[in-house]
């Protein structure tokens, strides 16, 4: 079980610090592990930041990696979760020729079916936004690709865990 390669979501709560991203990514780099996606943002606690990193590794590896991330000075707490234990979303943008909207009615159906949203339209192109799971975005990409995509970009995953994180409690334990 522990030796099977799976997708894990790593959530890291940190103090904001220049260079911390470098320090965290170095832990993956030295083990020759590719980062599938990485997102850094503010968290639910003021002054506390949160990294969300998606990697494909074994559970044995991710446990050791979490230990090494967790001991970095500015890391408050690091966790890993299975895909099933998280609710995650990615976001993407497509740039497509506007003429296709009128020349090929099928595109309108694709947009409707996929719950994608048109962000802007002008004479030359329109921009489509879609949030969802990796697979949904991949599906939409495949369908639109038949008609031609001018530009495509996808964000890293952001994720919320089903289990509570207890960061506030960890922080309140600290007494200087």
């Amino acid at each position: 079980m522990e030796k099977e390669i799976k997708t894990f979501t790593v959530s890291i709560y940190t103090e904001n610090n220049i260079g911390l991203l470098n320090r965290i990514s170095a832990i993956f780099q030295r083990r020759h592990i590719n980062i599938e996606s990485l997102n850094s943002s503010v968290s639910e606690i003021k002054g506390v930041y949160r990294f969300t990193i998606i990697v494909k590794v074994t559970e044995l590896q991710i446990k050791k990696i979490i230990g090494q991330i967790d001991k970095q000075i500015e890391v408050i707490k690091a966790y890993y979760h299975n895909e099933d234990d998280t609710i995650y979303q990615e976001s993407c943008l497509f740039k497509i020729k506007s003429s296709l909207l009128f020349d090929d009615r099928q595109i309108q159906n694709i947009i409707k079916d996929s719950n994608a949203r048109i962000v802007t339209v002008n004479k030359e192109f329109f921009v489509l936004e879609k949030s969802g799971r990796r697979k949904e975005i991949d599906n939409l990409y495949d369908r639109l690709n038949e008609y031609g995509i001018l530009q495509f970009v996808r964000s890293g995953a952001v994720s919320i865990t089903k289990q509570p994180m207890n960061i506030s409690e960890i922080l309140s334990e600290f007494k200087n």
Partner: protein
């Protein structure tokens, strides 16, 4: 401690060092750190700055200082090449958990990122080899960041910290106010020991029939020598050490069964795979200790006393992890333990020692062949220092031989580059060790290869009058690599033979007393003369060219596949 008077950032750096109790620092000046050096000049009655001959030497001196004293070692350098020359020392301190603070100068903040003269991203470069690092661009950050640096370097599992200070921050005037850091919100240096795991561990120890201890540097770092000795004597468990742990208890102790690992002793390596309980204390199951992990102590239950949670189950699965500082956990477990003896089991160690003695040790220490052995040199050093010296070693054959045979009565007496295996470590580390403990005899034992990597530090010994004793065991080879070439590469000696200079002439050029020995009958008097010397002394011993270090666990083999020849 606080004072409300505007001072420069560079003066603040020096005041912070003083406030942290720093008395000696090692370094090398240059453009971007000149303001700090100007202040060091003013405060030279409070802080002694030792000018090394290379920044790498400054880091190893700071490490030697830290390893023998337990205090934080400090090294200082300029930006660019000065800073990059610290990297080896930082990596060495990181892997061997040595408390060190390195301070580097940096180009002015408005030049950052512009490829300015002697600009290098030392924070980026040093990130993977530091416990923590930080760049300061405002003078007002200096007191708190330096206080944090010392706290982080020293607390929990110690390690190196690098602080990079831009030149404008060094010049900037501000209101200086210093207070020590005693905690950081996101950093838990010492995990709390769990009573349940202490109970489980005590239960296993009380009921084991063939238990064995392997201890490492953690015992020394947590200053748990006394508690550890009580633990060993109360439980009666045979105790073996890693190269970083030796000297925590005397080498002559009846329960001290020697070194584990690649060139360790026969008995503890063999019996690692026979014991029913392995009690690991303050060690991290390095691959040079365990050999093939799939065949390491599989039959045994494992208890792991450890301060760093990331080490638990990293290499060897612990049945009972005991997290915490070794001094605290050992103190807490002592009342739970029964007084026991394991004489029959201990006898197995003695029997295997006899085998090792007959086939290896006797020939190393009492050779009958003409060429001098490294072992007999160490034996003579033992004779004249009576096991009271600190022995500083470099890396390679001489290191293994010295650690196998050196006798130690006192803790913090074996200073070596264990995890990183840094050739060139010993000479500058010996300088730091001697300056930290001037009352102690400090003997550096170095190979002819590693010696030439930092040989310029003879200049530091001469200029700063550091009475270290230097022994170079000269076999005109990079001996350990040659040994591997002999055993595993069919004697193809690719680039391992050294054509050496006249080492005694070099020592003489630095006005260091020196002697060269190549015959057995000259050895004892030469070692005696060296130890009796009040000044620094250089002794070159020409040893057998193609001798090998045994026992040996070939890489990838099991500890019990250890070879005696």
């Amino acid at each position: 401690m606080s004072s409300q008077k505007k001072i420069s950032g560079s003066e603040a750096v020096v005041k912070c060092l003083i406030a942290e109790g720093v008395e000696i620092i090692y370094g090398y000046p240059g453009g971007a750190i000149m303001p700090v050096y100007d202040e060091l000049h003013k405060y030279e009655d409070k802080i002694h700055h030792v000018l090394t001959r290379h920044e790498q030497g400054a880091t190893h001196s700071a490490q030697g200082f830290a390893r023998i004293s337990g205090k934080v070692g400090v090294a200082i350098a300029t930006s660019g090449p000065g800073a990059t020359n610290l990297v080896t020392g930082l990596a060495d301190a990181q892997i061997d958990s040595t408390p060190m603070v390195c301070i580097t100068g940096q180009v002015a903040s408005h030049l950052l990122g512009s490829d300015a003269f002697q600009e290098t991203d030392i924070v980026g470069i040093s990130t993977p080899v530091t416990k923590w690092n930080h760049q300061i661009t405002k003078a007002s950050d200096i007191p708190n960041i330096l206080a944090k640096a010392f706290y982080i370097a020293k607390s929990g599992r110690p390690g190196p910290v690098l602080i990079d200070i831009t030149k404008d921050a060094q010049f900037e005037m501000f209101d200086f106010n210093y207070s020590k850091v005693t905690g950081i919100r996101s950093y838990k240096p010492v995990p709390k020991p769990q009573i349940t795991s202490l109970n489980l561990a005590a239960d296993l120890i009380n009921n084991a029939s063939k238990p064995m201890i392997v201890w490492g540097q953690g015992v020394i770092l947590s200053e748990a020598e006394k508690e550890f000795l009580t633990f060993v004597e109360k439980t009666g468990i045979p105790a073996a050490w890693t190269i970083m742990g030796v000297s925590a208890i005397p080498t002559s102790h009846p329960l001290n069964v020697g070194m584990v690992g690649m060139h360790g002793n026969y008995a503890p390596n063999m019996l690692t795979n026979e014991c029913d309980l392995l009690v690991a204390i303050g060690m991290r199951f390095d691959d040079r200790v365990t050999g093939n992990l799939d065949k390491y102590a599989k039959q045994a239950k494992v208890i792991h006393f450890e301060i760093d949670p990331a080490e638990i189950n990293k290499n060897v699965k612990a049945d009972v992890p005991v997290l915490g500082d070794a001094k605290e956990t050992l103190t807490k477990i002592l009342p739970l333990l029964k007084s026991r003896k394991h004489d029959k089991w201990l006898n197995n160690f003695k029997k295997l020692y006899k085998i090792e003695y007959d086939s290896v040790i006797k020939n190393d220490l009492f050779p009958t062949k003409e060429g001098l052995t490294m072992g007999e040199v160490i034996k003579e050093i033992n004779t004249y220092t009576k096991g009271n010296a600190a022995v500083v070693t470099d890396v390679g054959q001489h290191q293994m031989i010295a650690c196998r045979y050196a006798e130690f009565n006192k803790s913090r007496s074996n200073i070596t580059s264990g995890g990183l295996g840094t050739m060139g470590f010993a000479l500058p580390a010996a300088i730091g060790a001697k300056m930290a403990c001037p009352e102690r005899e400090v003997v550096a034992v170095i190979g002819d290869g590693g010696y030439q990597m930092t040989i310029q530090e003879l200049g530091t010994i001469f200029q700063s009058k550091v009475p270290v004793k230097i022994v170079v065991l000269n076999n005109s080879f990079l001996g350990m690599v040659r040994q591997w070439q002999q055993l595993f590469f069919e004697k193809r000696y690719a680039s391992t033979e050294l054509v050496n200079p006249d080492f005694t002439a070099i020592a003489k050029a630095y006005y260091i007393k020196s002697k060269k020995v190549s015959k057995r009958e000259e050895l004892a008097t030469a070692v005696e003369e060296m130890i009796k010397s009040k000044e620094s002394f250089f002794l070159e011993v020409v040893v057998e060219k193609e001798a090998n270090v045994f026992p040996m666990i070939p890489s990838g083999a099991a500890v019990s596949d250890i070879r005696l020849k």
